[in-house]
Structures are given as C-alpha cells and as structure tokens.
Subunit: 235 residues, 2 copies
C-alpha cells in the first residue's frame, strides 16, 4: 500500500500555536520533510516543532531556494517530489511541514500539486497564519462587522496595491522585507502611515512590533515581517 502525504501547518512560531491534529500527524508519520532555504541553514518550520518530536531521525531536510527563477524552482521541486514520491511508493507516510498555514503562500502548494500525479492520498492540516497571530498579539481586530480584509504579498510592488488600498478596509502587507522603502512610500501616499503597524517574527522569541514605521527606515527588515493597515484606525 502506498503511503499518505500530509501538508501540516505548524503555525506562526510559538510551538504552542500548533493544533492537536498537526501534532498527532507529526508523531504518527514515518518521515517529516523540513524545508530550508539553503543547505545547512536550518528550517524555521522545524524549529517550531523540534521540542514536540521525540524521534529526530525521521526528519529529512530539503532545500527550497527563495527565488522567482523558474528553472531553479523546477529543479528543486523536481528533486523534492522524487524523494518524497519514492518514500510514498514504499508505503511510508510523509508530512511536509510549513510555517503558518499550508494554503497561504507556501511551498507545500507546489508539492501537493506535483504529488497528485503519484495517485496517493493527500491531506492538508491548516495552521494559524502569521496575520491572525499578529492581530491577536496587537489586540486589534483584523476585520469586524462588514469590513473587508485583503492579504497582499509585498516582496515586490504589487500592481493592484493602490486599488486594494482604495477599496479594502483592512490590508495586510506580507513579506515586506525586500520592498520596505516602497511600502512606506505607498502608505504615505495613501495617508495611512498612522493607521499601520509593523510586526516581524510574530510569536517568535525575537518578535518586533513597531508603530512608527518611519523609525524602521534604514534598518534591515526580517523576511518574516508584515504591515497591518486599518483605514478605520488601529483598534
């Protein structure tokens, strides 16, 4: 019998913000795939679960470079799918762990699609997103009554960002690190600086919360960072 492939969301960072279901699966599978950006750099998702896992031998690190280059991605995804596919064919259950939620901007999405050709059972376990964790941490509503909430990946200038800031009530700008000066410019243009807050590494030990976005001007911004903007004010 073939093994089962799981996508498991491990939440935003705090090891206690993992679900009972995720934990049960991580303990039951034969292999856990921990994605890392660079060989030997370690996996943020694995750091979150490491104290929950009693058998570290079942963890396999796989490299997924942070790039938009299609060829590099195809190669690393292809390698990973082959390795995971081989384990599944042997009848081993494999869990791919992912920071936050597996269906929100994760590498798991591509693994899931590519592994469908292997005709194996696939189950995805949702996780706490960083933006939900940040709203709780800040004590501000992500959305209330009839407010809309828009999540915008902001590693580069998003072509619709002006329109989104015009038509959505609350906006979460994710992965702002590489593009922080532009993000600031756009928020200034929309007069939303006083209605925005910066959060990086939410629920991690080195979490940072900054209300005065200008003060971050030249500082290196962590990859796991976001800006939450609420037109009605931060409440």
């Amino acid at each position: 019998m073939r093994g089962k492939f799981y996508g498991v969301g491990v939440g935003p960072g705090d090891p206690e913000l993992i679900t009972l279901k995720a934990l049960k699966i991580l303990r039951s599978v034969q292999y856990i795939v921990a994605p890392e950006k660079q060989e030997g750099k370690g996996s943020i998702a694995f750091d979150i679960i490491k104290d929950h896992i009693t058998d570290p031998h079942k963890v396999i690190s796989m490299v997924f470079p942070m790039t938009y280059d299609a060829q590099t991605l195809d190669e690393s995804w292809g390698k990973a799918v082959q390795k995971i596919g081989a384990l599944l064919m042997e009848g081993q259950d494999v869990a791919f762990i992912t920071l936050g939620d597996p269906m929100v901007y994760s590498t798991y999405i591509y693994m899931m699609r590519l592994l469908k050709t292997y005709d194996v059972e696939i189950e995805t376990i949702p996780g706490i997103t960083s933006f939900c964790a940040a709203a709780s941490r800040l004590g501000i509503a992500l959305g209330e009554t009839n407010e809309t909430i828009t999540i915008v990946p902001s590693a580069y200038n998003h072509p619709n960002l002006d329109k989104i800031l015009e038509y959505s009530d609350n906006v979460v700008l994710m992965k702002t690190a590489k593009n922080f000066p532009n993000t600031i410019n756009i928020l200034e243009r929309h007069r939303l600086m006083g209605k925005s807050v910066f959060v990086s590494k939410c629920s991690h030990k080195d979490e940072k919360i900054i209300y005065d976005l200008k003060s971050l001007g030249d500082e290196k911004v962590d990859y796991l960072s976001m800006v939450i903007t609420k037109k009605g004010g931060l409440k």
Copy 2:
C-alpha cells in the same frame, strides 16, 4: 489581584483543530464564557471544546443575539461585560471562546474593547479560520506567488464587492447565507461561477462542499457558509 481575560479561538469545528495553547488556557481558567445566539440554543464554540473540558461547571452561557440593531447589541454586550467584569474583579480568570479566530468578525472583539476599561490583563489566542480550513479541505491554494486574498463579509451586499472582484485575485465571501441569491448574481455577472466553490460548516460532521453553485438555488444555506472564488481557477 484581578483575574485575566482571555479570548480563545477554538478553530472552525473539528475539535482537533484547536491549538495546544488554547487548550492549556481553557483547562487553567476558572470560567469559560460560551456565547449562544439565543437562550438555550447552545453554543457552537462550546460544542467544539466540550470533549476537552473535564469540569463543565466552569462554563457560563451568555446570549449574544445575531442582529445589527445597535440597542439590542449594546444591551447584550453591556450585560456580558458586567458579568465578566465582576468575575475578573474577584480575581477569577475568564476565557471567552470564539469560533475560528477571535480577531476575524467575532463578538470577542467588542468584549475585549469594553473590558479594557476594567484595567485587567487581556490575552488573545489565535485560532484556525474557517477559510484556511476550507482551503485545506478542498486542496486549493488560498493564495500563491503574488496573488491577493480578500475576505468579504457577505451577509448583505457589500458596497465594494464589484471592485474587490475586479482587483483581488482570490476572494472569500463569508456568511453568505442570508444573501445567497445576490451572491450568485454578482458571481455570474463577473463570470466567476465556474471558478467558485461553496463550503458550509467546514470540518464539522455535516460539512458540505458544492462546486455547482446553481444547484443550491432555493436550498436553505447554513449560517456557517462561504464561497471561495479564484480567478485563476480552483487549483
């Protein structure tokens, strides 16, 4: 010493989709407030946690009518805040449970704000949202690469819905129950019917997933329902 007030997200429905942190707090507090729509109707949030709670005596039901009438809301919120406030003043810790995530369209948001005047410590524990659970269940990405995701409360026609459908890549229409025929009309107008899927009571025992939205025409739609629309197609 005053008690501490917690907002605890219990997730979308499956009792295993609760976090370790939520469970720890629910077991440690002296009181758990379970919101219900009508006296004696029961609390969906409590149904999710009931098998996790060994001491049912610590659960207090409080009625929060589902209405937009300001006076009715003020009265029910006022009563709830007085009761919870009194317990906190006695030094009791109180957890208010909420379906999904506490910062996404929940009654807890108002409780939290009103209880700030009591000068007590408040902590909010994020939960798995229904839309993340639905995306995992369906095996479709809520957002990938540079796609935007917009959450729209759709109990009534949202004034910006046309613009949101124009400018956002992926849209989640929440609480569509009362407004389902209008939702269908708008999706038809935007030629998005084939790119939309209906999910109700996600991860509950009576979960429903329907790809042919037209087939739901005259059926009574559950309150806990949503439509996920992906312009790039349901994948």
